[in-house]
């Protein structure tokens, strides 16, 4: 197994960075949602991660899984909409994949992200190509897997995952939505980047920036 790349402090740093990044990008995410949804994804995520900051990040001593569990709970109880239960489930499942472990390797993170993704798919029933956050998270997990298999280091592997998530998010532009609110638009949903895939790419990118 590889080196430790994330501990409780690192997990907190990641979530802090993610919270700040989502806050910065809130307007952009909401604008994406206005085009094919109901114009709230940015403010939803921002509200959720403000709560994460308050409820999950200002306590000492927990292990990463415990922090992710609190994160999931905070998101579930403050975000609402589709994003709330989906991202909430994502973090709860991440937590369940490595309970109690204080030091995470890149393989741990891969397992956690994979579990998180499975949780999202189980709850939301989205397949790849349906223009959802799955289209960013899926490629990220695959790229991470491949990079690990190719023997790359944790930081590099996560950079590649983040790149893949961003490519995945961009790849939602031509897609016709089949899940969530954007699906009501039918063909008219094509030509716009999915807001959830976009926030997912930010999630993976900030994780890559926080490990090491």
């Amino acid at each position: 197994m590889g080196d430790v790349i994330l501990d409780a402090r690192g997990a907190r740093a990641w979530l802090e960075l993610l919270a700040g990044t989502l806050s910065e990008h809130a307007g952009e995410l909401t604008a994406l949602d206005a085009a094919i949804g109901d114009a709230d994804h940015g403010s939803n995520m921002d509200r959720g991660f403000k709560a994460v900051r308050q409820k999950a990040l200002n306590q000492d001593g927990a292990d990463p899984a415990a922090i992710f569990k609190q994160t999931g709970m905070a998101l579930i109880s403050t975000v609402g909409g589709a994003g709330g239960p989906l991202y909430g489930t994502f973090f709860l499942r991440m937590a369940q994949a490595a309970p109690g472990k204080e030091q995470l390797t890149v393989e741990d993170l891969r397992d956690m992200l994979k579990a998180g993704l499975e949780g999202v798919v189980q709850r939301g029933k989205a397949s790849p190509g349906e223009k959802t956050m799955v289209d960013a998270l899926g490629p990220a997990v695959e790229a991470l897997d491949a990079a690990i298999a190719a023997g790359k280091g944790g930081e590099e592997a996560l950079q590649e995952a983040a790149d893949a998530a961003e490519r995945g998010a961009r790849a939602t532009i031509p897609m016709v939505a089949r899940k969530g609110r954007a699906s009501y638009l039918g063909e008219r949903s094509a030509g716009h980047q999915d807001p959830g895939a976009t926030s997912s790419a930010l999630l993976v990118r900030t994780l890559a920036q926080s490990v090491g």
């Binding site: 609402g80 589709a82 939301g124 609110r181």
Partner: protein, 333 residues
């Protein structure tokens, strides 16, 4: 953005406080998490009805809490489904000894959050039956979408099932009423103007001065098509056609026609639409037995309307006519 608000973050909570100032005799509110319940809840010996959804659709749902309708309503942020803990707490608060029916509008967020809440409540031993409302015929190809949205039928289902619960119906009877109203209802809406979600600050969509959006959703989700503005009668026909042909409603059917304003529509325009609805239904051989007209399921200040038709039978008429005492709908008491 021009709105009569203080802080964007406080909109829902302050509105609930204002509801309490206005109606202390009818409701109780909870602010953390946010919900409205019928005064004196829980009512023992009665199935409880809980609904909820994003705010901005007033009077739905808080305005339908009271005798003969809902026991509890969960108010999400503007246009954002409420959270599982919110729905769970509200469910616990109103649950009597005969179980709880969740009335859920078919939006991914609403469905997921209500699902999680029902699991939590069931974990506490509360019997919950959830029914999803999906009456919006604007959404075609429901195989390739998240399915049809829940719109106007929600109001009718809450009224009719609420009456059943009030007269002592069982959990499955009440849930069945919700299902039946949903099955027998079809709706379609249109918009002349967009609305502005306060947290966003600018209109969700832009419509040219001579355009309208047909098949709009109640969150400003784009509709079926964008076309040139037309006379009211023609617009009504455009909405009625898919509504009538979908169920389909056929000659001799008895119906309730619900002409709903989206929030910014003057009543005079709703009545102009109702005039055509009356004429068109009689041309189609339908019997207009009951009407509901007004702004009951809105999209903030959007100008536009939706039409819902419900096929009635004697039992539904009886339940529709039963007394109701809520801030949004009231008769017989």
């Amino acid at each position: 953005m021009k709105k009569l608000i203080n802080q964007v973050d406080d909109i829902v909570s302050e509105a609930l406080q204002g509801m309490l100032v206005a109606h202390p005799d009818l409701i109780e509110i909870n602010l953390d998490p946010k919900y409205v319940v019928r005064k004196g809840a829980p009512v023992q010996g009665k199935v409880a009805l809980v609904s909820g959804g994003g705010s901005g659709h007033e009077p739905m749902h808080g305005g339908f809490v009271g005798h003969g309708m809902l026991d509890g309503a969960c108010a999400g942020e503007v246009f954002t489904s409420p959270t599982p803990d919110q729905i769970y707490e509200c469910t616990k608060r109103v649950a009597g000894d005969r179980g709880v029916v969740h009335i859920v509008k078919n939006y991914t967020g609403d469905v997921l959050n209500f699902e999680m809440a029902a699991e939590l409540a069931q974990g506490d031993g509360i019997e919950v039956q959830a029914v999803v409302i999906n009456d919006d015929v604007a959404v075609q190809d429901s195989l390739y979408t998240a399915g049809r949205r829940g719109v106007g039928a929600t109001v009718l289902a809450e009224k009719i099932a609420g009456a059943r619960a009030e007269e002592g119906g069982s959990l499955s009877e009440v849930a069945d009423d919700v299902k039946r109203v949903n099955e027998e209802s079809r709706s379609m809406g249109m918009a002349l103007t967009s609305c502005t979600v306060p947290a966003n600050g600018s209109p969700t969509f832009e419509l040219a001065d001579d355009e309208m959006e047909i098949g709009i959703g109640i969150h400003g989700e784009p509709g079926r098509e964008r076309v040139k503005l037309e006379p009211a009668d023609r617009i009504v026909d455009r909405l009625l056609e898919p509504v009538l042909s979908d169920l389909p409603f056929t000659s001799g059917d008895r119906v309730l026609a619900f002409v709903n304003g989206m929030g910014g529509t003057p009543q005079i325009e709703l009545y102009i639409a109702m005039r055509r609805v009356g004429a068109a239904l009689s041309e189609a051989g339908l019997r207009l037995e009951r009407t509901l007209i007004g702004s009951y399921i809105t999209s903030l200040e959007m100008a536009g309307l939706s039409i819902t038709l419900l096929r009635l039978d004697d039992e539904m008429i009886r339940l529709w006519d039963a007394p109701v005492l809520t801030t949004g709908l009231r008769w017989g008491m």
